[in-house]
Every structure is written in C-alpha cells, then in structure tokens.
C-alpha cells in the first residue's frame, strides 16, 4: 500500500459532450429523493438491497416457521408408538417438506437476506452492484417457494424425501405431479441462490469503500465471498440432476433407467455433490456472523484474522471432497469409502482452527453477556458436539450402523441448528435494531435463548441414543417396546420447548416494534461501518463514502464518530447527474477505480421473474403453449432490463483526495460487470462439469451400455471442434476491440461474424448427434443433454451478439462504451471452450474402441 491510496493514476476516459450525459438521471429530484424507496404498490419495483434483503429475511423466516410446524407434526406423530395421528402418506409429505423447506427455502434465502442487507453497509457501498439481479432473485425464490408450497393445495405434496432418490422419484414409482412440484419449484428457487452468488462475489470484490483492501474487509466478507463461490460450484450439480430427472419424468429420457444403462447412484452423486457443500454453505455465513459479533462483545478485534481467512478458504475447498460419505452404504468399493472417510475427517482441521480462534478471542478482553453473546455460546456448545459426532460418522464402520438412523438426525440437527439457527438468532438480536431502530428485550431474549437451548438439547440429544438403539429415519410409525418409546417422547417434549423459545422471539419482535427503546448510534459499540449511522440508516447508506484505514473503522478512525454521520467526509458527496452511484474499487487493494452507476427502481426484474414462474408452472401443468408465453414474457423482461443506454465513457469528480476524477463504469477487466460475468461463467462451467461427470460416470460404471450406444458422427464432431476454435478467436477479438475502443462498424461486423459462427456450430453439433438416439441408452441421453446444454449456451451467445450489433446499429452505444462487448467476449470464450470440450468428447465417443 502506498501512502496516498487513491493515487492510482486513473486514466481519464474520453470526454465527449455527444454522450457526456446521464440519460437515465432524474434531474428534478434531490439526492435523498433519488435514493428514496418508491411509495405504495410501486415498492414492488424497488431494487434497493435494504428492501430486497429484508424481503429475503422475512420470507425466509416465514418458511422457517412453516417448516417448524411441520417438524412439530413429525414429533407429534412419533410421540408414542403405533400412533395414528398422521397416516403414512401425510407423514411422508410432512417430513419431505420439512427438509425441503428448511434447506432450500429457509437456510439459503436467510443467509442471502443477511448478505444482501449487510454487504453494502459493511463495505461502504450505497447498494449492491447488481440491485436488479437481487430483486429478480428474490422474486424467483418467492415464486419457486409458492410453487413448492402450493402442492399441499393440490394434494400433491412431494413425499419422496428432500433427497428425491431415484428410482423412487421416477414416474414409475411416483405417479402424479408431486415430484414435479419439487423439481420445478426448487429449481426456480435455486435461481435466486446462483444469482445471489454472482451478486455477492461482484459486490464484495468491486464496491468496497476507498482504501478497504482485502485485509481490511470485515471478516464476514471473507466468509460470504467463500460461500458465494461455493454456491456457484455447489448448486449446479443439483440443478443438472433436477433437470435430468425432470426430463426423465416428462420426456422419458432414460438417465436413471437401469434397463437402459442408467444408474440410481448417478443421482446420489449429483445430489450429494451439491448436498454436502450445501451444509457448509449454510454454516459458513453463520460462523462469519459469529466472527463479527464476538469481537464486539469482547471489545477487541478477532483473534487470528489470518488464521480464520485460511480456515474459511480451505474449508470451502475441502467440503467438496466429502460428498460420498452420504453414500457409504451404497456398496462403493471400500477404497473409495476410505478416501472419502479420510477427506471427511480432514475438514475437522479448518473447523478446529475457527473454533479455537473464537475461543481465543474471548481471552482478549472482558466479554459482555448480552443476548447475541448467549446465542454465540450456545452455538459453540452445540456445534462442537455436532462436529464431533460428524467426525464419528466419518469412520466408515460406525457410519454403516449410524447411517439413516436417528443418530444422523441428531448429528445433522446439531450441526445445522447449532451451526446456523443459533448464530442466526444471535444475529437477529444483533441486527434487528438496525432494521427497526428499536432494541429488543434483554429479558425476553434470555428466555428465548434458554428455552431454545434446553429444548433443543432435550429433543436432539436423545436422538443419538434412539439411533444407536436401531431406529431408522423417516419412519412414520414404530412398534412398541423396542426401546424407542421413552426417548421419542422426550424428544417431542424437547421440540415443543424449542418451539416455545422461538415463539418468545416472535412475540418480542412484534412487541419491540411498538415499545422497544429507540436505538442510539452504535448501540453495541461495534466496529463495523453498518453502525456508522443511527438506525435506521437512510436509504443511501452513506451520504459520503468514507475512506477506510482500519479493519475496525468505528474503533480506530475518530473522524467517523466525532461528528454526525451525515457530515463524515468521503467520496461522492456531490450527486452527479442525479443518479444512484457508489464507488467501485480494485478487487484486491480497494483503491477506487471507477464510479459505479446503479439502477433506479424498475419493474423489469419482477416481469422477468414472473415470466419464468409462468414458464415453470405451465411446464408443471403440461400447458406448453403457456410455457412459451411465459418464456416470451421473461425474454421481453430481460431485454428491457439490458436495453439501456450505456453509462461508460464519462469521467466525474469523486470528492476524494486532490480532486480525484474517476471514469463512470470503467471499461476494464476489473469492472464489476466483468467480475460478475466471470462469476456467471464459473457457474456455467460447474453445470457443464456436472454433465461431463454424468457421462464419464456412466461410461465407467455401465461399460456394456456405453459400448452399445450409437456413435456420434465423427466428421461433424471434428467440424464442431474447428468451429469452436473459430468462435473462441472471434470472441477474443471482440474483447480486444472492446478494450482498445476500435471502430463501431468493425465491432458490429465481428458481432455478426460471431453470430454466423454460432449458428454453424449449433448445426454442426446437431448433425454430429443425429445418429445417436437419445432414448436408446442413458449414455446416449447424457450425450444429448450435453448437446442441449451447449445449444443453450450458443443460443444465449447468439442473442447477445445480435443484441450488441443491433445496439451499435441503432446508436445506443457510442465509441468507448465497450463493456457489452467485453462481457460478450468473456461469455463467448467460455462457450467456445465448453463447445470445444463437448466436440472432443463426441469425437472420442465416436471413435470405435
């Protein structure tokens, strides 16, 4: 770092009055009005991270309560042996929906809510970098959740378990729509997860306050960054698995059909490739919130910031090497079991590092026993216990006994409730004053904690024993006298005590909104930027964005706290062009490199999500004409979304340093848009890798069927490979020209040439696959799935390149506004690489062995 952090010699963009304006500005509005949340029903068009974040939190919490009620139904049913409270069908629906809602519609959205709400406030930004994407993600989640939940109304609630194992979930054994409700609804809701991943990565890397280098980021940002990358890699296997299964149910493609070389274990691999990282995706942000709150109540910075960073990153990676420990009893070779067993135990190392960082932090000062602190202690108690039983489960012989027994139920609830729900309640007590401007009750908070803590341990500790006594999971009823009666009764009692604790929280939440004492500035004496303003923070978050010199700015930078927050010095006090703006930074050093223009409230995210929801719901109902209409609406929404004048090419004063001016939406690889595109490409590669894995797996495990599958046409596979190279070269040229600001006409020509190459590539793939009958074997079906995936990528590229050409032709882009082409280039290159790999795979498969 240099002494003058802002002096990075920014290259002033070309200043040209022809487009030096802000076509989307609202000149009649003041700074405050520009940032105001639209009134009335127009609030649905709001894209502010504060609004969207709270929506995620509230919706997620409602789903938590729904799934909690389902859990109580489960416990009521198991209260006594031979209970007839619920019949088997209902019980199966109830436990399926409990798991599904908790995992997909509560835990992930809840952490997204915290991330969306907190990230800009903690890193000194006025909003997330892709506010519309956040709003779009929320609506996808909401509509997906509604689809899943509506299955109850149609008496078609999924009853195949949250893991949806095939062949039980194929149409042969699950008739009707129940499994389709699950697959379609959850896939729609997962769109929110992957969009959130892109959003989190780009926001944390690209919009930090001036001077906030990686080492000055609040520790939570590291946790969220790693989580976001994990979502980007971890969700695609499930998305692919769900699509393959839905394609089997809907179109009869034999991906999992044993008689045609499909394999039930393929589903399990794909599911747990997602499912195991998912647990860490849920745990890490919660641990990050603990790492944020703990130092506040000790009054000293976190012990071992560097240790924690390494632990989080290594844990993120290691968690991908454990998936098969959910499959120890499936008859995998013992050598594979042992590999996954060893890898599973290794995850204890980074976990231990984190836990000991937390414990060591307590020695640094005199801890205050507040309500959030109680929940942190509860987290440590429960999570350490759950972690230890996790190491036990990594031992294969023990796992073979405990797997699918109540021991696992106990373990997973210790890890998930201990590792997520307790920190989450701590975080709610900690940040609710920030949401509402009022403090929650200390007394009721302690009641809530102790009820939850005691109830939880009573309910779930017993289950270790129930499991060791041989009780399998997911059984609606059990005979009397096997030794499970009393333990189950205690568990049920505990569950209701736990529920009472949550009820106390809810009562307190509604009570405090009316009569809670007003929050002063920084009520917890915290160190991070979100407490700079007296809650509730105004809609723009920061009137001026302060320069950051410390990881604990509110403790170490007196100029932030010695005056009213609105008077704190910083960047962008001047409102250029009456637009929403924030500072964009270098991903590593945190030096400001651009002024980032943010969108104002818009309906396009809602329209796009609604279109997608119609598409998904109509597919569920087999109304394909309606699906087409939904797809069209989504396409129109997305086109309207991106059809906007480009902001690049302008330079503006920031108010930092000696009159530092920065380009608006800089055309550079460090641009938030480019970083976001790279994040998206990461997801696309993970999707592709999942398909490739499926193909390789079937090839290796079902060799006879692979042998019997008709070969793709080698000549066209070869042509496809060549065309992929051409597409890569064209995309590379597009990117070079975007950065060097070449002439528009030439750029348009390259766009069109790219379009031609894409069409040719698509046709060539089609002819390569033509000899292969997708219904003949699972291996052939996976070949077609890869072809379809590449075709989808090509379709997006084609749309994009024509879109860019059209915008150049209509004068919507002028010289120097190269971002759209820079992004297209990155996407085109990735498409070319995946098309190339597919072509080579077809070539290899087409070669007689």
């Amino acid at each position: 770092m240099t002494d003058a952090p802002y002096d990075n010699n920014p290259v002033p963009g070309p200043r040209d009055d022809a487009y030096d304006m802000a076509p989307k500005g609202e000149p009649d509005k003041s700074f405050e009005e520009v940032w105001a949340t639209p009134p009335g029903v127009k609030v649905l068009s709001s894209v502010s991270h504060r609004v969207v974040g709270k929506r995620f939190l509230i919706t997620g919490f409602i789903f938590f309560l729904i799934a909690g009620v389902l859990a109580l139904l489960v416990r009521l049913q198991l209260l006594v042996s031979e209970n007839t409270f619920l019949d088997s069908e209902t019980y199966n629906q109830v436990f399926t929906m409990h798991g599904t809602i908790m995992m997909f519609l509560f835990a992930i959205p809840m952490l997204e809510g915290f991330a969306v709400y907190l990230i800009p406030l903690m890193i000194g930004a006025r909003d997330l970098v892709f506010p519309r994407l956040g709003a779009f993600g929320y609506y996808c989640y909401l509509f997906g959740g509604i689809i899943v939940l509506s299955s109850f109304l149609f008496d078609a609630a999924p009853a195949g378990g949250w893991f949806m194992y095939v062949p039980l979930s194929t149409s042969q054994y699950t008739e009707g729509l129940s499994a389709d409700f699950w697959l379609i609804g959850i896939t729609l809701a997962e769109i929110a997860s992957v969009t959130a991943a892109v959003e989190i990565i780009a926001a944390i890397l690209c919009s930090r306050a001036p001077g906030m280098s990686l080492t000055k980021m609040p520790i939570l940002m590291w946790y969220l960054l790693v989580t976001a990358f994990m979502i980007a890699i971890g969700f695609p296997p499930l998305i692919i698995g769900s699509i393959l299964l839905e394609a089997e149910r809907l179109l009869g493609l034999p991906f999992f059909d044993i008689s045609l070389g499909g394999d039930p274990l393929l589903w399990q691999h794909l599911f747990w490739l997602f499912g195991h990282p998912e647990v860490y995706i849920i745990f890490l942000p919660a641990a990050g919130m603990v790492a944020t709150m703990l130092p506040v109540f000790v009054g000293k910075p976190l012990f071992g910031y560097g240790f924690a960073v390494s632990a989080v990153i290594t844990m993120g990676f290691l968690s991908f090497g454990l998936w098969a420990h959910h499959m120890f009893a499936t008859g995998l070779p013992i050598m594979s079991l042992s590999l996954f067993s060893a890898a599973s135990t290794m995850v204890a190392v980074p976990t231990g590092v984190q836990i000991f960082c937390f414990i060591a932090t307590l020695t640094l000062g005199k801890p205050r026993l507040t309500v959030p602190m109680l929940f942190i202690l509860g987290f440590l108690f429960i999570f350490v216990l759950g972690g230890l039983t996790g190491v036990m489960l990594a031992a294969v012989p023990f796992n073979l006994q405990a797997h699918d027994s109540y021991f696992v139920v106990a373990h997973l609830h210790y890890v998930l409730i201990g590792g997520f729900v307790f920190p989450m309640f701590g975080a709610l007590y900690y940040w609710v004053p920030h949401f509402t401007g009022r403090m929650m009750s200390e007394t009721l908070g302690k009641w809530a904690f102790w009820l939850m803590f005691l109830g939880f341990n009573l309910a779930f500790f017993m289950m270790h024993l129930t499991g060791l006594r041989g009780m399998p999971r997911r059984i609606a009823t059990y005979p009397e006298g096997i030794g499970w009666d009393r333990l189950n009764m205690l568990s049920t009692v505990g569950a209701f005590i736990l529920a009472a604790g949550i009820a106390v929280f809810i009562v307190d939440f509604f009570r405090h909104q009316r009569s809670g004492p007003k929050t002063g500035r920084d009520p917890w004496r915290a160190a991070t930027l979100e407490w700079l303003y007296e809650p509730r923070t105004p809609g723009y978050n920061f009137r001026a964005i302060p320069a950051i010199r410390s990881r604990e700015p509110l403790w170490d930078q007196p100029e932030l706290t010695d005056r009213p927050a609105a008077e704190v010095d910083g960047a962008l006090r001047i409102s250029h062009d009456h637009r929403r703006e924030t500072i964009g930074c270098d991903p590593v050093t945190g030096e400001p490199i651009q002024i980032l223009r943010l969108p104002h409230p818009t309906w396009f995210p809602l329209i796009s999500a609604l279109g997608l929801a119609v598409l998904f719901a109509a597919t569920l109902a087999s109304l394909y004409w309606l699906s087409a209409i939904g797809g069209l609406i989504a396409l129109i929404g997305l086109t309207g979304w991106i059809w906007e004048p480009s902001d690049s090419g302008v330079t503006r004063e920031t108010g930092l340093g000696e009159g530092l001016s920065l380009p608006v939406n800089v055309v550079d690889r460090k641009s938030h848009l480019h970083v976001g595109t790279i994040g998206t490409i990461l997801i696309l590669y993970a999707l592709f890798a999942s398909l490739l894995f499926a193909g390789l797996f079937l090839w290796n495990v079902q060799p006879e069927f692979a042998q019997d599958t008709a070969r793709p046409a080698r000549i066209f596979a070869l042509v496809s490979a060549a065309l992929s190279v051409i597409l890569f070269a064209l995309s590379w040229m597009t990117g070079r020209r975007a950065l060097s600001q070449g002439s528009l006409a030439a750029g348009m020509l390259i766009n069109l040439l790219t379009g031609v190459a894409i069409v040719a590539l698509g046709l060539s793939f089609f002819w390569a696959l033509l000899p292969v009958d997708p219904y003949s074997t699972a291996f052939a079906a996976v070949g077609w799935a890869m072809g379809a995936y590449v075709a989808a990528l090509l379709a997006v590229s084609l749309y994009w390149t024509l879109f860019n050409a059209l915008r150049k032709a209509t004068g919507n882009v002028v010289l120097g506004q190269g971002l759209p082409d820079l992004l297209l280039a990155a996407f085109g290159k990735a498409t070319a690489v995946m098309a190339g790999i597919t072509a080579v795979a077809f070539l290899v498969a087409g070669t007689p062995q």
Binding site: A329, I334, L362, A395, P397, F398, L468
Partner: protein, 314 residues
C-alpha cells in the same frame, strides 16, 4: 378387521439395537462406538472447559492455542481414529470363500430370501435364519426402488440398489432372535418393512435347512383342506408359492412356512390366524401401498378357512 392389539414385537424379537451386538461386525463397531464416545466426550468437555477458562481469563491467549487446538488436537485424533476405523472396516467386511450364500431381494415392502441360490435354492420370505459361528455372504438386490438391509445387532447396513448386487458378509455369533429393518426410505410403507432374524446353532441350522427344503405341511383337517382350496380358487397362487401346493408364483412372499414366522407383514404384526384373516381382507389398512389386492369379497367362512390353513403352514 382391526389387527389384534398385542402387536408388541419385543417378545417376538430380540434386539434391534447396535448397543447389543451379537455378530462380529456389530461387535467391532460397538467397541469403536464406545471408544469414540469416550474419546470425543473427553474432547468435548475439554473444549467447554477451555471456553470457560477463556471467558474468565484476562491475559490474551497465544497463537499456540490455535496451533494446538485447531491443528494438533484434530490431527492426532484423526490419525488414531482412521487407523482403528480402517482396521475394523477391513475386519468386518472381509469376505470368505467358505461362506454360506444367501440372496436377499428387497421389494416394496417385503423381503425375498433364497438360501444357497447356486445349490438347493431354498426360497423363503421376511425372515432370515442364520447359523451362529459361520460366515454368511448376503447378496443384496432390489427389484424396484432402493432399500437398505440393516440388522443392527449383527452388522452395519448395506443398500439394496436395483441393477446392482451388493454383498455383505456377516458373522452372527449368539443364537437368538433379532430384528432387522429397511433403512432407506422406500415409499409409503417404509416403516412397515422389517424382518426377523433367527440365529441358530450350527447343527440346528443344518437341520433346519434340511427339514425346510421339503414340501409344505399337508393340510390334514377338513377346515385346512377347505382353506387350501380357497387359496387355489381365489388365485392366490398367481403371486404366492406354497411348495407342493402351488408353485411358480413369485410376485409375493413365499408362503410355504408362513405360519412358522414370528410375524406377519414383514415384521409388523404378530403371526396368528386373526391377523392373517385381517390382512387378506384388508391389506391396505395394515400395510398402505402393499401390492397385494384386498380379498374382501371372500366370505367369512372362506376367510377363516384360508387363514387357518396359512397359519398351519410351518
């Protein structure tokens, strides 16, 4: 018809608990469980004590806290654990060429059993008779969805996956009765998919195998004869086999010695005439999702006769 209320299985079966091991795999795993519980219990108490010390302590901790607690402690524990668990894994799954082979196939929601499939191929269902002190290789299969074979007292579980044959070598030791249950969620009546395991002394087992191979016990009394006729007339043999009476039906459990089993409906109900009659008249009530249709069109006497006949088959 209501199933009779004395459905408690405790007196029909022995244990379903991993904590009462009675086979080599379960015993080794039990020792491992005990050792891990004590070891990790100590670790847990230690960490909680440390938490308490940290809370009270005024002087900052050194980096060695994280070094020793986050790296050394887990690594030491992992090395010990992996060594023990690998040894036990190898010992408890070791195959044996001399082992008796039994095929067990899972169906929604019952178990088909074939003793010595390459030799005498003796077929039975929902009950597994094993010799004490002789290794047995179970070849586990499924013909519909995934099931999982689990007898906690004898060994760890193994999934039954359609399209695959998983083998599990078990070494039961104590003669007695045990309960097994399907451990992989397999649909509507997953909780009602259990079975009994009878472990006999080696001699007794050989004798059992010999005597069971023959045809079904003859129906001597008139009522039983009538029941046998109902069985044939009602078409039961389309799915069920009774050796010497109606052979070839393989869609449902073999009934040659149905009356000798401790339970009815795959480990769910006490085996007696009343429950048998109730089952035949209304399967769906006793086992939702079972493939068998209810024979509620049978008259009372017919029902009595056929259930008496089945109960007599031992």
């Amino acid at each position: 018809m209501e199933p009779t209320s004395d459905s408690s299985t405790l007196d029909i079966y022995g244990s379903q608990s991993t904590l009462r091991p009675s086979g080599l795999g379960a015993e080794l795993t039990y020792d491992l469980t005990l050792a891990m519980t004590i070891g990790f219990g100590v670790v847990f108490v230690f960490v909680m004590l440390l938490l308490w010390v940290a809370w009270r302590r005024q002087t900052p901790a050194g980096h060695w806290w994280v070094w020793s607690g986050g790296i050394l402690l887990p690594v030491a524990a992992i090395v010990v654990l992996m060594t023990a668990s690998t040894a036990i894994l190898v010992a408890s799954t070791r195959s044996d060429d001399e082992a008796l082979v039994i095929d067990v196939t899972g169906y929604q929601f019952w178990w088909d059993v074939v003793y010595d499939p390459d030799g005498i191929a003796l077929r039975d269902a929902n009950e597994l008779v094993l010799p004490a002190g002789r290794p047995v290789t179970l070849r586990l299969k499924s013909d519909d969805v995934i099931h999982s074979f689990w007898v906690p007292s004898i060994s760890g579980k193994m999934d039954m996956i359609p399209g695959r044959i998983n083998t599990l070598t078990v070494r039961p030791e104590e003669p007695g009765r045990y309960r097994g249950q399907c451990a992989e969620f397999c649909g509507l009546s997953h909780p009602r998919m259990a079975f009994e395991v009878v472990v006999l002394e080696l001699d007794a087992f050989d004798e059992w195998l010999l005597t069971t191979q023959g045809e079904a016990r003859d129906a001597a009394q008139p009522e039983l004869l009538a029941g046998k006729q109902v069985f044939i007339d009602a078409g039961c043999s389309a799915c069920h086999e009774i050796r010497g009476v109606a052979e070839g039906g393989r869609l449902g459990p073999d009934l040659t010695r149905v009356g000798a089993r401790a339970s009815l409906g795959a480990g769910m109900w006490r085996m007696n005439q009343g429950n048998l009659a109730g089952w035949i008249a209304d399967v769906g009530d006793m086992k939702p999702g079972a493939q068998m249709p209810s024979y509620n069109h049978l008259s009372g006497p017919e029902l009595r006769a056929v259930s008496a006949y089945l109960a007599s088959l031992r």
